[in-house]
Symmetry: C2
Subunit: 380 residues, 2 copies
């Protein structure tokens, strides 16, 4: 209707020249208006915007990218899981990216993906992103070490050491070891002689970090370090681990690397007649939405995904827009241990080999309303 090419199919999107013509200015002026450049009179700006509105003009991003060499988009590599941690981080990233005016492109790396991280990053590079976020990468078999593709955009790695070298690499989401440590110390403070660890899959850096925090905390307090059981993040693996641990009367406290495993673990313990928290205390990690409502309500470490995403992206965008400048400093997120009903002091020591069931804990029965978010204390 507007531009008379004759074809009715879909009336060809208006271009900036069309707007310029209608507004009676040059095409460049339209460009100026849309880029908020200075030196456009208010009157002209108004005319241009009005013409654009009338035509339903949207600027063509491909042309823009081609001419400017920047796509104004950020790519994120995530694992293709709906696991609470990675999914929450992704949502946090999206929120911030949009706020900063960039577009978001997403690719997944599946566990066992042959191309893996390199493939994912390559695909983003193909798409021409201005920066890359790698969220919770896992260790690749074989492709250990450097990426084969040269990465010429800034990269933000959330929750892991550098998987490769790029022009600029930033880190974020550290401090999981400190968080784990706070969990362990909570249990030691309650009087547990030591704490067992149900670790996450060690190909995940997140799992390694938590293991490391556990190790460090026990070492710092001169405690025994019992053997580690490795799960796969799933409640099923936590359940399997629980069956093992239930058989060992020495176990009075367990730190699980995520809440799902903690829930499976608690179930297995309960089925074996070892009550939580009376006989065994359990701490999880993540603070998933149901953590306060399972039985017993789970003591756990809350991750602040939004904060982590926000802080990391601020630094990434800074690096994109100020290529020569110094990288902004990272800051460890605060540790936030949420104490609920799954932890309490250990049962009194007694000669091994005798089965017994101790009295109920003071005021901690299942009839207490779960603290909505209550009982949380912030360490560090």
């Amino acid at each position: 209707m507007t531009r008379g090419t004759g074809r009715e199919q879909s009336p060809a999107a208006p271009r900036s020249v069309d707007v310029a013509r209608l507004a009676g200015v040059s095409q460049k002026t339209v460009s100026r208006v849309f880029n908020d450049e200075p030196y456009v009179s208010a009157e002209v700006r108004r005319r241009v915007l009005e013409a654009a509105e009338q035509l339903g003009y949207r600027r063509n991003n491909a042309a823009r990218a081609l001419a400017s060499g920047r796509t104004r988009s950020i790519g994120v590599v995530t694992l293709g899981t709906a696991l609470y941690g990675p999914a929450s981080l992704l949502m946090g990233v999206e929120r911030v990216v949009r706020d900063t005016g960039y577009a978001l492109r997403v690719v997944n790396t599946m566990e066992g993906d042959p191309a893996g991280l390199a493939g994912a990053v390559g695909s983003l590079l193909d798409q021409g992103v201005d920066g890359i976020v790698i969220s919770e990468p896992i260790e690749e078999e074989g492709a250990e070490g450097d990426l084969t593709v040269p990465v010429n955009v800034p990269v933000l790695v959330l929750g892991a050491p550098p998987p490769f070298t790029a022009s600029t690499v930033l880190y974020g989401a550290g401090g999981a070891d400190l968080m784990a440590r706070a969990a362990i110390e909570h249990l030691l403070d309650l009087g547990h002689p030591t704490v067992h660890h149900l670790a996450g899959p060690q190909r995940w850096y997140a799992a390694k970090d938590r293991l490391e925090g556990w190790r460090a905390a026990l070492a710092a307090h001169g405690r025994d370090r019992p053997p580690v059981i490795e799960g796969d993040w799933s409640a099923a693996s936590g359940y399997a681990a629980g069956r093992e641990l239930a058989a060992d009367p020495e176990v009075t406290a367990v730190f699980a690397a995520n809440d799902d495993m903690a829930i499976g673990l608690i179930r297995a313990l309960a089925e074996a007649g070892r009550r939580v928290p009376e006989d065994v205390s359990v701490v999880g990690f993540d603070d998933i939405p149901v953590a306060a409502y399972v039985t017993p309500p789970l003591t756990t470490v809350r991750q602040q995904f939004d904060t982590v995403a926000q802080e990391g992206l601020k630094r990434l965008v800074h690096a994109i827009e100020n290529p020569q400048a110094e990288a902004l400093p990272a800051s460890d997120p605060p540790v936030h241990l949420v104490v609920r009903a799954s932890t309490q002091p250990p049962p009194p020591r007694r000669p091994p080999g005798r089965r017994r069931h101790t009295a109920s804990r003071p005021g901690g029965g299942p009839h207490d309303p779960p603290p909505a978010n209550g009982g949380s204390s912030t360490h560090h």
Copy 2:
């Protein structure tokens, strides 16, 4: 190093002409090779690929998009939540999109976002996507009905009726009503006189669908339709609902619109002395990863996000690549009710007003190992 512009900064990405020159062919031939077009001799193809490899050539997508008018990317609008359902769907979508050779752009609509769906779609249109997936939209206040922006690309709406008109609109992820219905019928089959419903927020179409299935099932069987309680998907809201329902001795079966609410509900019931499943049966929806490991293991409706995503995207891509062709038909996903321990026949009827605790269920105590995935039956 290769192209001598003198600047060492970052040695300017090679272009297809550079490859052409090195391979001793025309630039167009390079284009042919990279687009897998026919009519290139094996020998030339080899030379081109080798030259490209040597130069580290990656084709410029902005230029490609500008010249061809297609971005080879699909945009997805999701809610900015890590809720299991939406997050799983997003992951499913990503997986399929990559397989089909498209890139994925993601924008969120936050609840209460002023721009809302229109803003999100507009932002994708700005980015120049070839197709749009709208995942689980919620009803917008005010902006009811049509989008103000013209959408000239095919749109796939997952889990909702048409929020607007576009050139092509496809639907997917229907059938939630049938799934809800299967859940209700499972409870009726067990002998419950009727089933209460803890609904999701009714601004979500997914919540409406489940409510509708509940309503239809009760109507079909001529049962009472008790008042509906509306939650917000959270375990906390399920807990609140549970306190209400616990006070009503008539309640013997509850269908919760998602698992998180079901878990909160069960906790509130337990605290009020109403055991699940002995006194009250509960069915959830989603089959979240921990559903089999909470106490009691949750009977729930499993959603097949991968299938839904795959099926929907196949149709979307078809619509993108065959603009004139008939839309591929949709197919309802199969209903998959996973029966675990949170449901059983109702306790024997007795005069109202008397409190009692009935015997334990036959072989259904907490010491049964949770069926990993067991006890599932597929309806419809």
